[in-house]
Amino acid sequence: EELIFSDHFLVQLHEGTNEDAHQLALEHGFGSARKLPFGEGLFHFYPREIPKTRRKRSLQQHRRLAKDHRVKNVFPQEGFGRQKR
């Protein structure tokens, strides 16, 4: 199936507090960042405005983020369907 990409990223930082992550997210054009309660150093970087979906990865944003020395891993988030029951 055609993949759908959102502007949400899972970002793993080498270290850093929520505030550092928030600052880093702002620097890279995100709305903010939220720490995940599991895993090590995992943060949800989410967009500021309406969640957009796109058929292509946002390679530029991904690459810039991945290059940042504070960042350990970057995982763009695919979009998929969920339905109410």
């Binding site: 959102s6 939220r34 995940l36 969640p51 369907g81 339905q83 109410k84 029951r85």
Partner: protein
Amino acid sequence: GYREINNIDVNMSDPLFTKQWYLINTGQADGTPGLDLNVAEAWNLGFTGKGVTIAIMDDGIDYLHPDLASNYNAEASFDFSSNDPYPYPRYTDDWFNSINRVTSRVLLLFPCSQSCHFTGIRMLDQPFMTDIIEASSISHMPQVIDIYSASWGPTDDGKTVDGPRELTLQAMADGVNKGRGGKGSIYVWASGDGGSYDDCNCDGYASSMWTISINSAINDGRTALYDESCSSTLASTFSNGRKRNPEAGVATTDLYGNCTLRHSGTSAAAPEAAGVFALALEANPNLTWRDLQHLTVLTSKRNKLHDEVHQWRRNGVGLEFNHLFGYGVLDAGGMVKLAREWKTVPERFHCVAGSVQEIDKIQSGSKLVLSVTADACQGKDNFVRYLEHVQAVITVNASRRGDLNINMTSPMGTKSILLSRRPRDDDAKVGFDKWPFMTTHTWGEDPRGAWLLEVGFQGEAPQSGVLKEWTLMLHGTQSAPYIDQVVRDYQSKLAMSKKEELEEELDEAVERSLKSLLSKS
């Protein structure tokens, strides 16, 4: 509106109370008297959900509603769709909204457990879901939230095979291992609305061992038209969905404070079940996530539930089950009585009991029958003796996936439909790739012996396919899970199961002593 419990029968002054027939069914709207969640018995015993917190994962909650406001736990609520702590239902900036009587779900759980707290987790309200939003939702404050109720899932179009992604799986694993101080978060899932066109084993949330998948019946015990059958459903509660008579609907309040008798599919099932489980957790806060599943199996009742297609059957240790309703309708009274004296079940183990890896062709008109003779890892540290969940991890491709039909039979003769025909699924490419089909029907059985897998096609046109893998995974305890439980009702499933266990243990003890005598002589 709170009344003293002991006069609940006499002066329930709320004129609409009787519309909530799933609480006390006296035959309203052609319903079947006595077919309800038996919450009155739990209330009479004084359990109303005190000290328990339930999270409703949906697209918002009207926490300002007069019936809800006093039970709302704002601190443990969050909106992952809009990234703020106020999960109130709303139109999104681009007017995208999928509100569907969201309030109804919360109010459904309230009648069952008036004193519990609830939190709102708004996470469905964006055009597409992401793994990170799901994972964040089901791992939200797991030391505060006891039960997570979900009335959503992969699209129930009868041709989707989907489930939790990696992060969400990790979050669930974390939840059952560390949530509620290590006793395990409770995940309740509405089993699906695809009706006879779908099979809820193709929904990775409903068919997960870590979730309690709940189906719904209607007020006279028949199935709702949108019910899906599958072997991973553990029990049922109620919903509407078959009768024209609106009174047969599940009465709730809509966003405008009006009583509504309409809502969609199995959505009512999960929050009703969450409400019943809250009563059980109040009766025994030490219940683990596995304890609750055992209690569900032992106390759910067949009652008047019936379905023409799927007959009620008994498994190898006498537990009655049905492919639609699981072990029956939840019985809140029975559950809290057993929960009060419940001793946590022994640790469970996991055994890969066998695997068939060679390529086998499947043709229309004949069945591929495979067998694995399992010793259930006997003699090893991880042997399993009393089953809980069984998974059949299968890799299969077919010219038409929807025409595949897979059955598995346990050594004690219990046959489970792992996959029923899905007429709308015309996939010829993806198939099932290491898909963990799960059954709860062999609960309590001895897994040692020959397991049979039957794969065939059902449909008009001839099809062909290839089965590449079947791996059998057994999950269960090594010692009898009910031997320490106190039996109060000698007609109950617990009494029957315990008797089975004692007989089995006795047989094995006799066998062992005979062997030792023989070896001495």
